[in-house]
């Protein structure tokens, strides 16, 4: 066996060890998930709702990670799909008598279609232009929904109430949100190892070079956005069903968009578990500041956003790969300051 082959085989062995380690992490994850499912029977209703909200934001952050983190297109106004999904499901369930699952599937499909159609022209824009175009898309959609009669205008839509005990209902939505979260994270995991995923990442780092490597950039971008939109729409649908009432100013709220954007950045854009981590952290901080600074909690949240952006531009995942020290934080600041 010549030296080159020997080195290659060592290389393969290292990879196998890394795969084994990953498999163990997956097992732990599944165990954690299963124990979480027992939560509604162990914790109070308040905490179950908190957990459900964390799962929701984790899913939202992971969904936008697909287009913004992996593919590098900062879809700032991505909450538009949350709103469209919520409204599609709400209207289907409340007005046309559909049941939950078909309503949710419809929401995902409508958002996917909307994303694909809007994506073709909008994904030709880059950077700031793209970011604000998506913002405009959200605001335009919100303004339209507020004015159209059939969407209930500014007063929103009320969904039929659910049957079952509080505990059962809480459990249901915990499971649903956890389910979507698992689906998005699972997709992200596949993305990180698939040919499509490599193509998207190449687009993020250098779209021109990516095209010259043979990557069909337009097709990939639009696909990433469509998938991300469908996931986000699904989450919106579940949210609508959960809350029982939606209105434009809530489901098209830019604050939600920024929140899950920050979660993605904080946890690490372009990583598989980063956005979920970021969601746990930001929601955790949010809960702490809400209970301590009731009146100012929005302001505190704003301050935290500012601090995070300045000190940790690469997010927590960045932190994990370098050694955490004051110096590395300061170095981050040095790189980006003028």
């Amino acid at each position: 066996m010549d030296v080159k082959t020997a080195r290659f085989d060592t290389h393969v062995w290292e990879e196998r060890r890394a795969s084994a380690r990953r498999a163990v992490s997956w097992v732990l994850l599944v165990v954690a998930a299963v124990s979480l499912l027992a939560a509604p029977y162990a914790l109070s209703a308040y905490w179950v709702r908190v957990l459900t909200t964390i799962f929701m934001y984790g899913a939202l952050a992971s969904a936008i990670n697909i287009i913004a983190g992996f593919t590098g297109y900062p879809a700032f106004g991505h909450v538009v799909f949350f709103g469209v999904g919520a409204y599609t499901a709400a209207l289907a369930i409340a007005r046309w008598g559909w049941s939950f699952w078909p309503g949710t599937v419809l929401a995902a499909a409508v958002c996917g279609g909307f994303g694909a159609i809007a994506g073709l022209p909008l994904l030709r824009l880059r950077g700031h232009y793209f970011a604000v175009a998506t913002l405009g898309m959200n605001e335009a959609t919100r303004a339209l929904v507020e004015n159209f009669g059939f969407t209930g205008g500014g007063t929103g839509v009320i969904l039929p109430s659910l049957r079952g005990s509080i505990r059962e209902i809480n459990a249901l939505f915990l499971v649903l949100m956890l389910g979507v979260l698992a689906a998005v994270v699972g997709f992200s995991y596949w993305l990180s190892r698939s040919r499509f995923g490599y193509g998207c990442r190449a687009i993020r780092y250098d779209e021109e070079a990516a095209a010259h490597c043979g990557i069909p950039t337009t097709r990939y971008k639009v696909a990433a956005w469509t998938i991300s939109a469908s996931f986000t729409g699904t989450i919106g649908a579940i949210y609508a069903y959960w809350l029982g009432y939606i209105e434009p100013s809530v489901v098209f709220d830019m604050n939600i968009a920024v929140k899950f954007f920050v979660m993605m950045l904080l946890g690490g854009a372009g990583t598989v578990f980063g956005p979920l981590l970021g969601a746990v952290l930001v929601e955790g901080i949010g809960i702490l500041s809400w209970s301590r600074f009731l009146t100012f909690h929005s302001a505190v949240f704003g301050l935290i956003i500012v601090a995070v952006i300045i000190l940790l531009p690469g997010g927590l995942a960045d932190l994990a790969s370098h050694r955490f020290s004051l110096r590395s934080l300061l170095r981050n600041v040095q790189e980006n300051r003028v």
Partner: protein, 255 residues
């Protein structure tokens, strides 16, 4: 000629607004050939490469690759057919590791092998380029010369039949230059046709089978290196009389 050439470019012109960057340029690349593309700055060399690789659309003219018309095709289609290119400034994917960069080339180029074979191919290319020790490093941590190697590795992983190289040697010291030179020879021996834009004349003379010279968008010479170097028009437009004197009697690079 059209039947046997790997790449055939005929009558290509390019206008940018009122500026004519290329004027009726025609040339061909035979299989296994190394073609040098030289000329002063602004002559249109990079524009020509951009047109061949699909980055720009020619204002007029036609191109064939292995008999197939390629004018107007999107860059990714042309890449998929077997034409890979490098850029003047390295366009490696900075946030990815060296290994991942080369893998992208393998995933999206013309190769169709199984993923196990692909991994082996990537590793072989890394060894060929001397990058296997740094394969897990992210490219933004590498210096210019190594980044260019990553570019080259990524292009090679695409298993191209034609490689367009835009000033690969720029900014390299003599040792790095020598190494890369040997590499290009080796790649060519494995059957890849090369079009090389360079300003380093030693490389052109020693490496290329044939050289074409562009000046103000027009092709002013086309032939073996030594013949082109002594072409009066080329000397006036680009090389300068001093070069002619200093290279009389001297060969190019060894190896």
């Amino acid at each position: 000629m059209a039947g046997t050439s790997l790449l055939e470019v005929r009558g290509v012109s390019k206008w940018f607004g009122g500026v004519r960057a290329l004027d009726d340029v025609s040339f061909h690349l035979a299989p296994g050939e190394i073609l040098g593309l030289i000329g002063p700055n602004g002559a249109g060399k990079t524009t020509l490469i951009n047109i061949v690789s699909g980055n720009l659309r020619a204002s007029s003219g036609a191109m064939w690759f292995r008999g197939q018309a390629i004018a107007g095709l999107a860059p990714h289609r042309i890449a998929g057919l077997g034409i890979a290119r490098s850029f003047q400034i390295s366009k490696a994917f900075l946030g990815m590791t060296v290994e991942e960069n080369v893998l992208v080339g393998a995933l999206f180029g013309t190769s169709n092998g199984r993923s196990g074979d692909r991994k082996r191919d990537v590793y072989k290319i890394l060894c060929l380029l001397g990058l296997e020790a740094r394969r897990r490093d992210r490219v933004h941590a590498l210096n210019v010369a190594d980044r260019k190697k990553v570019d080259l590795g990524r292009s090679l992983a695409m298993k191209p039949q034609v490689l367009l190289l835009d000033e690969l040697m720029a900014g390299l010291n003599p040792v790095e230059l020598e190494a890369l030179f040997g590499l290009l020879r080796e790649i060519n021996h494995q059957g890849v046709g090369l079009i090389v834009i360079e300003h380093v004349m030693r490389v052109i003379v020693s490496l290329c089978h044939r050289v074409i010279v562009l000046h103000q968008g027009q092709k002013i010479a086309d032939g073996p290196p030594v013949q082109v170097m002594h072409n009066q028009r080329v000397i006036e437009a680009y090389l300068g009389a001093k070069y002619q004197q200093s290279t009389a009697g001297r060969g190019g690079l060894t190896s």
